[in-house]
Subunit: 353 residues, 2 copies
C-alpha cells in the first residue's frame, strides 16, 4: 500500500483529516476536537467516502466521550454520558443519509460502551476511543482483503473504469474499488484506469487521479459523458466502483452516475463490479427503492471550482447518489470474498452484527 | 421565436458573432473581417454548433472574396480569386472535422461562384455574400420547420432531456433540438427541459440554460451523470438532441455523451430523437464508424476557467463527439418532416446537393 498520505487519523487527542475539498491543489489538515467539528467536516465533504466517514464518525463519538467525561459531575455521570453519545450518534447519522457505514460505526461505538458493566466516565472515554481505533484498523485490513480477493477479477489487459473515489481517500487507506487495482499494480500486472471525473464534486478528477498518479498507476481522466464512447471502442475491460449501501437483495447505492455506468456496461457486455466492506451491507432494507437518496445543494452543480457556470437563477437538481439494481451487478467484492448473483442469501450471512 | 439575441450576423462589412465561450457571464460580440478571424473563432469555439458554424464559414468565404477582390490586379483576377476561395474552404473545413455543415456551406458558396459565367472579382464578392445570406436565412427557416414538424413528438407532459446546445446559439436562430420545445411553448403546451450540463465545454449549463431562461421555458439543470437517475424515476418523457453529421445508414455523430444517453433511453424505453437540418446529412459515408471524431485539447478537461481541476501532469482524453448507431434513434426530425427507421432510403432522397 501507499503510505504517502493519510485520510483520517488520531493525533494529540484530536481527529485529523486531510481536507478533500482542497485536493489536489492544497494538502490541508483539518483538526477536529468535537462532535460538531466532525459533523461539519462530514456534511461539507472535507471527509467523504462511506468507509472514511464511518471512521471519522467513530472518532467523533470518542471526542464526545472525552469531552463529556471532563464536563460531567460525578453523580450519574456515566448514564448522562451515554445519553450524550446517543445524541451525538443521531447528529452524526443525519449528516449523510445514504452511506450506511456512518450509522454502522456510530452504533458499534455506542454498543461497545452500553455493554460495559458499571463504567466510569473515564472507562467510557477509553473504550470509545479503543473502538474507533479498532474500526480504523479493521477498515484498513478490510481494504487489503478486498484487494486480495478482487485482483483475480482484473482482466489481463487491465483496463478498468472507475467512478468517484473509492480509494485510500474514501477509506482508512488503500481503498475499496481501487484496492484490486493497487494489488494488481503491486503484483506487476498491467493496469490502466479510466477515471470518470465525477461531476459535480469531481472526486475522480481531483482525488482518484491524485492517488493513482502518486503511485505511478497509469490513468486516463475522462468526463462522465465519455464512458459509453470508450466502452463502445472496446477500451474498457471492466467497471469497478465502491458502494455507500448494499441492501438485502443486492441493490447498491453509490455516487450519482454509477447507475448509468451499470446500464452502459450491461449494454456492452462489460463486467460491473462493486467493491465494499461488509459494513456497507444493510440487511434491514429489502431493495434499493427504500434507500434514502441525499439531495445536496444545487449550487454544487451550478458552480464549478468556485466559479458560476450557469446563469444566475437557474434551477438545478443534485441527487448525490443513485441506486443500481442487483441485476446489473456482475459480482460484489468484500473483505470476505467475491459473491455472485443471486445475492440475497449470501448477503444475509454477511450482514454485520 | 426569440429575437432577444443573435448568434451570427453580417454588419458593416464584417461577420459578427456572440462569443459563446464567455456566456452566460458576458455577452461579447466578436467582429471577424477575414477568413483567419473566422477560422480562429470556429476552432476556439467562439462560434459552435454545426449549423451556426456553417453560417459563419459561408460568411468567411464572403470575407475572403471581398478582401481578394480588393487585393487582386485585374488580369486573371477572377481565376485567382476562385483559387483563393478554394484555399479558404480547405482552411475552414479543417477547423472542425466532425460537423459536416461546415464543408457543406463552404462547398455551396464555392459552387455558386464556380457556376458564374466570366465573373468579375466584384461579381464573385457579391455572389458569395448573397449565398452566405441565403444560407443564414434558410437555416433560420429550417429551424422553424423543424419546430413545426417536431412539436408533435413532444409528449403531453413535456419532459424533454437535451444534451449540449442545439438551440438558437447553435444555428442562425431558434435551434434544432430546441425548436420543437420552443414551438410547444409558443403553443401554450407544457414543457420542462432537463438540461445536461455537457462537460467539458458546459454548453448545456452555459448556453442552453441561458437561452431557455430568457424565454421563460422551465428547466432543470443536471450533470451528465444524472440522466440515468431521472430516466429510471420516470421523469424523462423523451430525449431530443441535435446532430453534427448523419450518415447514409442513419448513424449520427453528435456531442460526446449523446451515445450514452441513447443507450440509457433505449434501456428505459424512452424515445430518442435527433433534430437537424438536411444539410447535416452526409450520404457519402456508409456508416458512423467512418465519421472522423475530433479530439480536442485535453486541457479542456483538466482545466476550467483557467483553474486546474485535476493534478498537474494527469493524462486526459477529449473526444469531442461520439456516434450513436441508427438502431438507437427513434426518429430524425428535419425541415422536411419526421422520418422513422429504416432510414437509408429516406436519407438518400434528402441528401443535399
Amino acid at each position: 500500500m501507499s503510505d504517502a498520505f493519510r485520510t483520517v487519523w488520531w493525533e494529540a487527542n484530536a481527529l485529523c483529516l486531510i481536507d478533500q475539498r482542497m485536493l489536489p491543489a492544497d494538502e490541508i489538515v483539518v483538526r477536529c476536537t468535537s462532535v460538531a467539528d466532525v459533523a461539519t467536516a462530514i456534511r461539507t465533504m472535507q471527509v467523504r467516502g462511506a468507509p472514511a466517514i464511518g471512521c471519522a464518525a467513530a472518532y467523533a463519538m470518542a471526542l464526545e466521550a472525552r469531552n463529556g467525561a471532563a464536563d460531567e459531575a460525578p453523580a450519574g455521570a456515566a448514564h448522562r454520558l451515554i445519553e450524550r453519545l446517543t445524541s451525538a450518534k443521531e447528529l452524526l447519522d443525519a449528516q449523510r443519509p445514504t452511506a450506511v457505514n456512518l450509522s454502522w460505526a456510530t452504533a458499534r461505538v455506542l454498543n461497545r460502551v452500553r455493554r460495559l458493566n458499571d463504567p466510569t466516565p473515564a472507562d467510557i472515554a477509553r473504550y470509545t476511543l479503543d473502538e474507533a481505533h479498532a474500526i480504523l484498523e479493521e477498515d484498513l485490513a478490510m481494504c487489503h482483503a478486498i484487494g486480495r480477493h478482487g485482483v483475480a477479477l482484473i482482466p489481463a489487459r487491465g483496463h478498468v473504469l472507475t467512478h468517484c473515489n473509492a480509494g485510500g481517500l474514501a477509506t482508512a487507506g488503500y481503498g475499496t474499488a481501487l484496492a484490486p487495482i493497487r494489488t494488481a499494480h503491486e503484483q506487476g500486472r498491467p493496469v490502466h484506469v479510466y477515471v470518470d471525473e465525477t461531476r459535480p464534486f469531481l472526486q475522480g478528477a481531483r482525488l482518484t487521479a491524485w492517488e493513482l498518479q502518486r503511485e505511478g498507476i497509469p490513468l486516463t481522466l475522462i468526463t462522465d459523458s465519455m464512458a459509453g464512447y470508450f466502452m463502445r471502442r472496446g477500451e474498457i475491460d471492466c467497471v469497478m466502483v465502491g458502494a455507500d449501501r448494499i441492501v438485502a437483495n443486492g441493490d447498491v447505492a453509490n455516487k450519482i452516475g454509477t447507475y448509468s455506468l451499470a446500464v452502459l456496461a450491461h449494454a456492452h457486455g462489460i463486467p460491473f463490479y462493486i467493491a465494499a466492506p461488509s459494513s456497507t451491507i444493510d440487511g434491514s432494507l429489502p431493495h434499493g427503492d427504500s434507500i434514502p437518496i441525499e439531495y445536496r445543494d444545487p449550487a454544487e452543480v451550478t458552480m464549478l471550482a468556485g466559479r458560476r457556470i450557469a446563469p444566475e437563477g437557474v434551477v438545478a437538481a443534485h441527487p448525490a447518489f443513485d441506486v443500481t439494481p442487483s441485476e446489473l451487478v456482475t459480482a460484489i467484492i468484500t473483505e470476505r470474498g467475491v459473491i455472485y448473483p443471486p445475492y440475497a442469501d449470501q448477503l444475509r450471512r454477511m450482514t454485520p452484527g
